[in-house]
Symmetry: C2
Subunit: 684 residues, 2 copies
């Protein structure tokens, strides 16, 4: 039985963290989306678990960071353990896990299944998008002639519905104490990909005739290291595997090792290394180096690895401390491979994200984060193109920005894995050994990278900074095609680096005195923001400049109006926020130009757009101007992307540069703002 | 059709906030409970909305404060408006809404329906207790001879299931702009009680024969101002009504009044008073004084009050500012009555709580809070008696503690309402007018009371402080009957006041460096806590004292073991926590006596019982010893009730006084701890 062809804006293949992040964006932007996954159920245990502070900031922009914060284990301190002169294991160092001050969140650990649950709840609360499980794409066709028209459907995919048995992977094996425990081998690179088997099985079964043809404007492959989508496109992963084999145990440990509730990097003298990752619910994850003799050397045979073998390795490494367990939640084994995709998209209509385009060691806790941030980067761009707000050209920045990140990640991981897998040097003459000092330094430097905060997107049509876009990205040319290249005046806000996510400090709502982290105002709802920092509004020069900007923004032909469809409120595509400095009590909201707190005939004034950099009653003083390096006498304006990355920094009232920036990629909408249901902005 | 008689431990009548708080406790303590409510649905809008910071602390102890914090409107600043010398309205003062420093939460506003939702989710997550709606108790019998036996069932109640129509109150009326808006008159004291009508209607309908007999050990009437349970007991509410009539509008305001997003107390020269309570979702609640001429004077006629009449009053009071609205969410009108129940219980088997025993003005935002705190006080006591941990005698403290609070509340409300409803005095000679200075002072003083933090329970068998229990409570004698009266040494922890909830400061987990607010460790799970503050554990005197306490607690006949059933873990009834002072790095958890971090043969050591007063990586230094007034050279031990109120402060190792305290009301359980599934504590 073949169902009729359906049309969607975006087809997402794969409902792991990368696919769900994308679906979540689509739910917020109202994009017609389908999500399919060949597996019959979501992940319940094991898998990736480390969450960067940047990832929590992103979750907070979707309103569910608190659920993660509450359920997760928080990582505060890293302890380094290695042999002393006598070869006895001892704690040599303690390091802050997250570098203090870089984010309002810290790194936490919570297993992937819970993250997927929060995504699913969030998607459900904002849309009717559902995840179709046990559904497998089996054929792909791309009509190149339709690729340059954003409203056409160049992609045709056949979907097959699997039976329950087909969609449920076999993933059980007996644990050390004889109980049956789920293992992760089915997804590790030590096990063969089972997609082909699943397709064959589906074809032979009675339900194999449940197929459907889907036509899509865009498709995104979030379908993991064995990506079916990637294979259709004929793109390869470039890189290599190492010989190191690692085992993973998720257990409730019974041990006298003192730092079992800290993240620990443990180098034994001769028995290999262990990384300790304490988790939620009394669990601890151990990454345990397996001696190559144990697993036969070279490419390992899956069947030869058991939890008991992994435990015995851990016991040797941790000696003289003891370690055992009664409860094992999950286990697996893997071989490190560091690879990056050659291409991240086919003509900006089909995209690849997550494990489909980068694989690496799990120990730095990067996997789930980088994957989700791939589609966090892509989602709003897709939505703006589908809605007709933006030109197709912005989609090129996905590969430029994210392939570069993947390359950096792989380089980091290569170096870190080598240092972690190596034997500690006995003395300075021991050249084959790893210097523990070098390891510590690398660990500390890696911490900034691993936080996700350091991400710095290169120059492009949506990042107005100097230099070559090709050099700063992955080589793709994503520079603006306008005659006039808009550039930032970074010195006006020295610590709001263009290309990076905007740092967050606390501001007070002018109307109700509530303190907010600035980032909390930048919800992921698809809106661009212009944040105006006019300085002190008791100063006449500042007030004049602020009013001048207000007049231009209010103009019937302003970029605010030109790029906003008439059926949306004036802040529907670009939202203007104000942060003035000085006593909140010195300013009355209703005295400010209307455009900065727009009036709606049914809802009254907007009380949620103007903020003060001032002392709060209960949460201190954000010192926003000081922390952002903004001179209160001069001020600044900042354009922030819908994903919180900074596009432009300039003069408070440099309306022309703002307009120049937006006009290089945004599309004029249906004429001047109508006085319908939308808010009405009176002129000054 | 009559169903067979069922037996329950606790029968809760009424599923408003008081009833749900109690059900929530029961869900955490595993008590066999039924909850019935005559209404067919929960509240969806309107009703009470203000939440004290103490209430948020309590919600946090049940793990759902964050949901409230996220959805609610936060109240930061109060603005006082009154006439200047020319009679023109102007802002005269700004006051912090919550007194800075008294809690980690601040007062917020969120409507009752959401609070009930969070309770229901929380109850469901922890038990199979459900709320049976449209179920009405129709007869009550009390067998006095069974009242002194805690495991007997002195209460017999007949329950009737209502039809959908019977259970749905009529609550709609047209609003000012012609749309239909739910009103709250059906619950206000301007409308007659409808219970009798519902019973009659149920008897006449076809489903009236769906009755059931329930036998209960305990019953709690949380059934509102017209309480059916109270009527069965023959208890009265004592107090009186005032002549003031107030209207309430929940609207999205369209106004040029500058402080519409602040809590405002507005006294007009001659047109009455308005209180502004900004709410979630752009809503604002206005409490508006109605001129008695408008509503015919004296006891008001419900049918004469309309939203339009209320709005017109508001407009007169707010002049020269304008106010109107397009959207009204809810409205009601009420007359202030201040009354307190004569008795809060029948022989400590049937209890009354919430509006069933106190009614007052809603404007101070106290109603829902005091009601929920009634049953928060009662819940753990009931659970401990039902489980056989405690003697019936602790139940007397419910009336002693909560009736006194209700009396204080009514006195506060009487004074506050008079000041708020009165006309501002024109000058010092105007004796009939209210001095605005006096109003401001009363407002500020009232703020501490209104926070819920000031609650200070009197001396009793569960609060070891000097003085007369009768004088410090409502007159009931709840003193300990032991020969030796245990008294606190308050000077050892000067700012952990015995009788009040323990203040909260941040401590660091010894095992993983995570900062926690101390209160976050005191979850409402029914456990007593002994919190040991041994001082610095690098000091030999302190260490010796701490070890001595450890030895006594570990003893096979210690009170920990005597009062804990053998099938529970050693921390199942009384949990011992440690907070030492000084560098966390100077102490190794596993060096401390085992009883302070008990060992479990399947789960290993307990890493969640020992904390340090030290600098955290990201959240500052809690300075716990300093903030609690504890001398680090001397230390202290503190006993905290399951509801976070402080019972006793004494010497670190004063095991004998601790034992004396618990032995006056706790019951010896089934012998010495067995080495079953529970954790095993090795001796020192």
């Amino acid at each position: 039985m073949t169902r009729p062809t359906t049309h969607v804006d975006v087809l997402i293949v794969g409902a792991g963290p990368a696919g769900l992040m994308l679906a979540n964006w689509m739910s917020r932007c109202g994009i017609k989306t389908r999500v399919v996954d060949k597996r019959g159920t979501k992940v319940f245990n094991g898998q990736a678990d480390g969450l960067q502070c940047r990832t929590l900031e992103i979750f907070d922009s979707f309103d569910f960071a608190q659920r993660v914060w509450q359920e997760s284990n928080h990582m505060l301190e890293i302890c380094l353990w290695n042999p002393d002169k006598n070869g006895t294991l001892r704690r040599s160092d303690r390091i802050a896990d997250t570098i203090p001050g870089i984010s309002r969140f810290q790194q936490v650990v919570l297993h992937q299944g819970r993250i997927e649950r929060f995504f699913l709840d969030s998607i459900k609360a904002h849309s009717d998008i559902t995840v179709e499980r046990g559904v497998l794409p089996t054929s792909f066709n791309f009509n190149e002639s339709k690729a340059r028209d954003p409203i056409d459907y160049p992609i045709t995919v056949t979907l097959k519905t699997l039976s329950d048995e087909e969609a449920t992977p076999q993933q059980q094996q007996k644990s050390a104490n004889g109980t049956v425990v789920d293992d992760g081998l089915f997804r590790s690179n030590l096990a063969p990909d089972d997609t082909e088997d699943m397709i064959r099985s589906a074809e032979q079964s009675g339900r194999a005739n449940q197929t459907e043809e889907v036509k899509a404007k865009f498709m995104v492959g979030c379908d993991g290291a064995h990506s079916w989508v990637r294979k259709q496109l004929g793109f390869s992963l470039e890189g290599d595997s190492t010989d190191y084999i690692w085992g993973v145990l998720d257990i409730v440990p019974i041990t006298d090792f003192p730092d079992i509730r800290m993240r620990c990097a443990i180098h034994s003298a001769n028995a290999g290394s262990v990384m300790v990752i304490p988790r939620e619910n009394k669990l601890v994850r151990l990454y345990i180096q397996l001696q190559s003799t144990e697993v036969g050397g070279g490419k390992a045979d899956r069947s030869s690895i058991t939890p008991d073998m992994i435990l015995k390795s851990a016991q040797r490494i941790l000696h003289p401390y003891t370690l055992t367990y009664e409860y094992c939640d999950w286990w697996t084994a893997y071989q490190i491979g560091q690879r990056v995709g050659s291409n991240f998209s086919l003509q900006e209509r089909v995209f690849l994200a997550g494990d489909a385009v980068h694989t690496h060691s799990p120990k730095a806790g990067q996997g789930m984060n980088v994957s989700m941030q791939d589609t966090y980067n892509l989602g709003w761009k897709l939505a703006h193109v589908v809605k007709g707000y933006s030109d197709l050209s912005i989609l090129k920045t996905y590969q430029s920005e994210r392939r570069r990140i993947a390359q950096d990640l792989i380089a980091f991981d290569y170096r870190f894995s080598r240092l972690f897998s190596g034997r500690p040097s006995m003395d300075v003459m021991d050249e084959e050994g790893i210097s523990m000092e070098e390891f510590k330094t690398a660990f500390q430097k890696g911490n900034m990278f691993a936080s996700g905060i350091a991400v710095d997107y290169g120059a492009s049509l949506i990042v107005a900074k100097p230099g070559s876009s090709a050099e700063q990205g992955d080589g793709t040319d994503v520079s603006s095609q306008s005659k006039h290249r808009v550039l930032s005046k970074q010195h006006l806000a020295r610590t709001i680096p263009v290309g990076q996510r905007i740092p967050s400090h606390k501001v007070l709502n002018q109307a109700d005195a509530r303190p907010w982290h600035l980032q909390e105002l930048l919800k992921s709802n698809g809106r661009w923001r212009v944040i105006v920092f006019p300085g002190s509004l008791t100063n006449q020069t500042n007030t004049t400049r602020y009013q001048r900007l207000g007049e231009k923004l209010s103009n019937a032909n302003s970029f605010l109006r030109r790029y906003t469809p008439s059926n949306l409120s004036i802040d529907g595509v670009i939202e203007v926020l104000t942060v003035h400095v000085g006593p909140r009590w010195d300013v009355e909201l209703l005295d400010l130009p209307d455009i900065f707190h727009p009036y709606h005939e049914k809802m009254g004034w907007d009380y949620w757009k103007v903020f003060a950099d001032d002392q709060s009653y209960h949460e201190g003083h954000g010192r926003v101007y000081e922390n952002y390096g903004i001179d209160p006498r001069q001020g600044a304006s900042v354009i922030v992307r819908p994903d919180q990355y900074v596009s432009w920094v300039g003069e408070v009232d440099d309306y022309e540069e703002m307009e120049g920036f937006f006009s290089s990629f945004m599309k004029v909408q249906d004429g001047v703002q109508q006085q319908t249901d939308g808010p009405v902005v009176s002129t000054l």
